[in-house]
Amino acid sequence: MTILKRAKGFWLSILLSCIFFTIIQTMISGGLLNPFYQNTIMLIGINIILAASLHLIIGITGQFSIGHAGFLAVGAYASAIMTMKLEMPFFVSLLVGGLMAALAGLIIGIPSLRLKGDYLAIATLGFGEIVRIVLLNIDYVGGASGMQVSHLTTWPWVFASVLLTILVIRNFTSSTHGRACISIREDETAADSMGINTTYYKVVAFAIGAFLAGIAGGLYAHNFYIILPSNFGFLKSFDILIFVVLGGLGSLSGAVLAAILLTVVTTFLQDYPETRMIIYSLVLIIMMIYRPQGLLGTKEFTSFFKRKGGHKHDNEQTIA
């Protein structure tokens, strides 16, 4: 039956990812991946979480938010305080980072109830900057000199967080609640008139997105030894935004793919210090010119090899 089939697909994908996890874990403990590659994998994981979480806000719910680095920063600092100052275990610190960021998401969700488009963009950008400036002025977390954090982020943690993020976002999106969010993106007035509590779902999207970005912040803080307010400026938000748009607005797999691709490209370009940013910017411009809809458009990866006849009424016809 359909239920069974759908549930099967779900468990199958979990199984596959566990196998992937084990392979990487074996390679790490077997010394097949040197620390540089390990670090790159961590960074990819963190960026995937960031991209996916912003995808929920922009790609799914259509709220033009360009202050995502703010949530990352809140998560990073909150979790660093947990481990470094309060000596809590890493797991607790990740959770607290996520929750604090979610709280920030609720706060920034509020202007989103009144603002639209570019006005909302500016407000979220302002929020991100406010977070950065507040951190800059709190001596408890080191102010401008930043806060030193121990290295606790490991592959199992990153993997678990990525898996959690993707599952939460995918399951949310492909449910009636996700559709409610998409309907807000498509036409807020119509969604409202069709019985969707748009206020509620916008805030939910911000809160979930921020929560996941907060977890990414925790992983980030505990991977790079030091966190500095200057690393969470609006340019960082743009980096995350680029993942989402380049992958294809509205496509989760696109966002993930772009996060992987751009992280690899960026890392690779470290070798060309003089032309690095020039190449990077050219890559951006050319990709956007030739694929303005993003790498995957609005499609998902799975739609490329979807089984036929999964549904009862699945007559795949296209008229457009």
């Binding site: 991977n223 030091i226 966190i227 400026g233």
Partner: protein, 374 residues
Amino acid sequence: GCSGSDEKASNSSTGKEETIKVGANLELSGGVASYGQSILEGLELALEEINKEGIDGKKIELTTVDNKSEAAESTSAALKLTSQDKVAVIIGAATSGNTIAQVQIAQDSQTPVISPSGTSPDITFKDGKLNDFIFRTSFIDPFQGTVAANFATKEVKAKNAAVYIDSASDYSKGLAKAFIEQFKANGGKIVAEEAYVAKDTDFRATLTRIKSAKPDFVFLPGYYEEAGLIVKQAREAGLDVPFMGGDGWDSPKLVEIAGADALNNTFITNHYSSGDPDEKIQNFVKSFKAKYKDKSPDAFNALGYDTGYFLADAIKRAGSADSVKIKEALEATKDLELVSGTFTLDDKHNPIKSASILEFVNGKQQFKTKIDPE
């Protein structure tokens, strides 16, 4: 440009080969790209000179990695240099934060790191523990602040000083802290403590505020880009009291930005002065200008240059390109004559240098006094 990081990966720090691999992890793009780029210019000049003869016949091969002025990228760059390129030594980063981001990696892989301009004490010594593979070329000077405070009290006869710091810089904060302590100990009063952030351009509002506190001396530890603007805008706002800064002011650009008139009645503590007739310094200025289209070197150029010689000296004494031997040699550095002063390392891996006090007179630095660390 820098030498490529091309396929000679088998060369590692075993000491037998012709080249010694050195990595540079610098801020070549992003917010403080100008610092990183200046350091690289100085460093490349130094290496070019050193490689002319080589160190015991060996040449230094530089692999440069850009860290985008981000801590995360700095970590990744350090990992790349240590595990991919297998360099013997890392030079960088320019800022303390980005240096801290690679401390653990250097310690773990036993690769010495020399930060040309990272001034935070935490870099080398944190929580009572020495990071024994980490070094720096710059000074963490409380010393400069102390010297400035004594100068203010004794020479300027200042009673009410204002302090205006760059809150994004440990360097600026460190100098200010020492200045305030010493100035108060000398019986003076701090009438205003204000702050800006590097890359600001308009300081008029804060200067107006400082002016209304009626100081008779302003201590302005910061880098020349902002210091020049601040002095200029202060003079325009009618704040005519003496200003004083540290070695971060040192750049010909300072005079261009502030204007020679505005700089009258300002002082700096420095370890060298590009106007110093000392032969070593003049040679540096000359070859720098020759290599870089007649550009006059600034403080970061000098630090990058000195870092090159600091390292070369150690490699020579180590007689090997082995990381651990180089580290030991670096630790033993003593009375090394560099452009930015005579250089001895203390047990916290911080260089001890003497300081001079210079005055700007119509755009020219004039030597006033030289003060040795006690």
